[in-house]
């Protein structure tokens, strides 16, 4: 099936509505919503990090409500087995043959809740699926149908009982979205919305209309890849990633995959902004989300409590932007 990219105006309208709908459900998280959309448009997986209760899960559920496709949610726990994610073979007594029972991973939008609570083996199984786009069960390779997007949430590593994701696997996530606690005002709004005319404390996503079907989504993603990208913007993105690699205090910097991710994210951002071309601004504002999980800070910086974001803030100030 060949697809045609969505015309710019149509894409912009779709994305605008999407942003609004989700914004109504989850208030006070403009930046996170924007970045979530970038991941959606750039067809990349995203990792959402924040302390419990800031609405990470709700964000993803709202997004899932907007996309008409199969949605699955896995709560990661320390005893979760790889086959609980990917599926397994069961023996069918009637037919006397093995039958593959597909796991929750066979979907379009997967919410992996608290991914860092599962043991490394299970994480590896899922991250492999993210990378390859396919799952192997009993020696049989099964393709995951596109669009396949994983939104994983995790609590900060400092919280008890978590397995940090290995660096190589973090690299599979296009973005790491930092979901900050909402401002006091936004929190008040959220409380009012949550307590008026509703029973229980289950936040709902009824404000979100099912706007996108999977085909439109794929066309949207396609149109993001056709945006105009000037050489200077490309150079700028590469220069940023390279600078991050040699930045003082950075123990291990982002690999080449990071440059690609940065450009992909910048393109998607440009589309969301309603432009058909990418600017250094797009690159600049995607730097924290793309790079923050790809840096490992040196011990000195970690002891001093410098966060990756502060360092990246410094980085974008110092790496010259194209001006000629």
């Amino acid at each position: 099936m060949t697809q045609t990219p969505l015309p710019l105006t149509e894409a912009v309208i779709q994305l605008d509505q999407l942003e609004q709908d989700i914004g109504q459900t989850v208030s006070g998280q403009h930046q996170a919503i924007r970045e979530l959309l970038v991941a959606l448009v750039a067809a990349g997986h995203a990792l959402l990090e924040g302390v419990p209760g800031v609405g990470k899960t709700l964000l993803v559920r709202a997004l899932a409500a907007a996309v008409q496709g199969r949605y699955a949610r896995i709560q990661f726990t320390p005893d979760l087995m790889p086959s609980d994610v990917t599926g397994h073979a069961v023996f069918d007594l009637k037919r006397e043959a093995f039958r593959i029972r597909r796991g929750p991973i066979f979907c379009n939008l997967l919410l992996a809740d608290e991914i860092n609570r599962a043991p490394a083996k299970t994480q590896a199984a899922m991250l492999e699926a993210m990378q390859e786009g396919q799952v192997t069960i009993e020696g049989q390779a099964l393709t995951l149908e596109p669009p396949f997007l994983v939104f994983a949430t995790q609590n900060p590593i400092e919280q008890e009982g978590t397995y940090p994701l290995p660096q190589a696997q973090l690299d599979r996530f296009l973005l790491k979205i930092a979901v900050a606690p909402p401002s006091a005002e936004a929190e008040r709004a959220a409380v009012r919305a949550a307590t008026s005319g509703r029973i229980g404390d289950r936040l709902d996503t009824s404000a979100v209309r099912p706007l996108l079907d999977t085909e439109t989504l794929q066309r949207l993603q396609l149109s993001a890849t056709t945006l105009r990208l000037d050489e200077r913007v490309l150079d700028y993105a590469v220069a940023l990633v390279r600078a991050a690699r040699d930045w003082p205090g950075v123990d291990s910097g982002p690999g080449p995959r990071a440059s690609i991710a940065l450009v992909r994210a910048a393109r998607a951002h440009a589309l969301i902004e309603g432009r058909d071309f990418t600017t250094p601004d797009d690159v600049r504002c995607m730097v924290p989300a793309v790079l923050r999980h790809r840096l490992r800070l040196g011990a000195e910086l970690e002891i001093e409590g410098v966060a990756a974001d502060a360092l990246l803030g410094d980085l974008v100030e110092r790496v010259p932007a194209p001006r000629d």
Binding site: F277, T279, L315, V316, A321, R323, D324
Partner: protein, 474 residues
Amino acid sequence: MRLERLTARLRPCPAWQAIDLGFALARAWFPALWALWWCTALPLTLMVLALAWLHSDLWLLALWWCKPIYEAPLLLWASRALFDERPRRGALPGMLGAGLRPRLLPLLLWRRLSPRRALVLPLLLLEGLPGRAHRARLRTLAEGSASGWLTLVCYHLEAILWGGMLLGLYLLIPEGLAGIDLVAALDDSASPAYWISSACYLLACSLIAPFYVCAGFALYLTRRTELEGWDIELAFRRAPPPPAAVLPALALLAPLLLAPPPAEAETWPDPEAARARIAEVLDSPEFGTTREVELWLPVTDPAQRGTEDAEDSWAATPPPWLAGTIQWGLVTLAAIALLVLVRALWRERAPRLPRSTRTGHEAASGPHATSPLDHESEIRRLLDADDPGAAIGALYRASLERLDRLGLSLPPGATEGSCVQRASARLPRRIRVPFAAIAAARRHAAYGDRAPSAAHVERLLSHWRRWRGRTGAH
């Protein structure tokens, strides 16, 4: 002895590296060792103070002589910590008592000045062999261990720390206050300065002692590792078991004993066997010569001889032209260097000129780069050449320069969006609105391949001129 629990990585290595390992150990355990040192030294200090009738020199000498007493507990502590069992508080009295054992007596009497003290200490405290066996064992262990050098150097390190502290105190106390009389601090034992100096020395001793003791201990351990193959044993113990594991057999192996103190630690009690083994060891080419001593003398000797020879052969007066030649040589060299520099400076500058007339590539690099009039003529030229895209680029850079002069600091990383953001936060409306328009046009031209019309550029230019004219006034 449970080699699996070693907290240091032991391997046969040259004596210097063993000493360094000892220093690393001492550094890791420093707070505990230092406190332990004072646990014995402080009571003794006070006691001797009373006994010495307040004679500071006697006091210091007595304390200095008693060093092995404070060092013994440190060693016992280290020998436990090495096997990852930090002694508890309850074990401290026993360890302090070790400082007063009769076994330590030789170290306090005739062995006090032995340069191998660091190595003797573990031998005495951990092995406790009778006289002759002890001497033989010491000879084996001291082979190539540089323990003499260790004592010499640590003695100097103490002296350096002491001198440093004293001099530092002397320099730091402002002139108006009662300063320290440095001369009195060295030779007048009745002066208060001498007391301060003695206290500094004691402090220096306490700082170096953990390092000295641990270095001696590490030398001892390294030699034993070498002689008894500890590292090999450790690797063998960690070897994967045979498929059908016969694990109980491992447990049957009689473990060597080191850490819990004395007599059991003995590995070969028979002096005859010991001597035979010493001979065996000494025959091995492994323990041949010490290289560090051989290199001392030959280096300075020829130098001195060289000077004497030279003095004989040199003429007493230089030829009169020599100074002039050297002088003019120097001046000529300097002149050439200056010429080369000027040429290089010019080259550094040269490539800018053609480029700035072409696209104004450099303009954003600094406020001094080009005058506003140049900018304007440049933009005009580009407009005339029907290149509004380049013209808007030049206009954008010119306005950045303008903003820079207005005190809006724009780091090199500032993109169009962030420039506009900064401008709108800090500048009045009449500047930020036209600037935002320029930035937007520039963005479309540069990255969207949509050059503005010449008329649009003209309009922006005229706005800019007005804004520049007004701000240029102050």
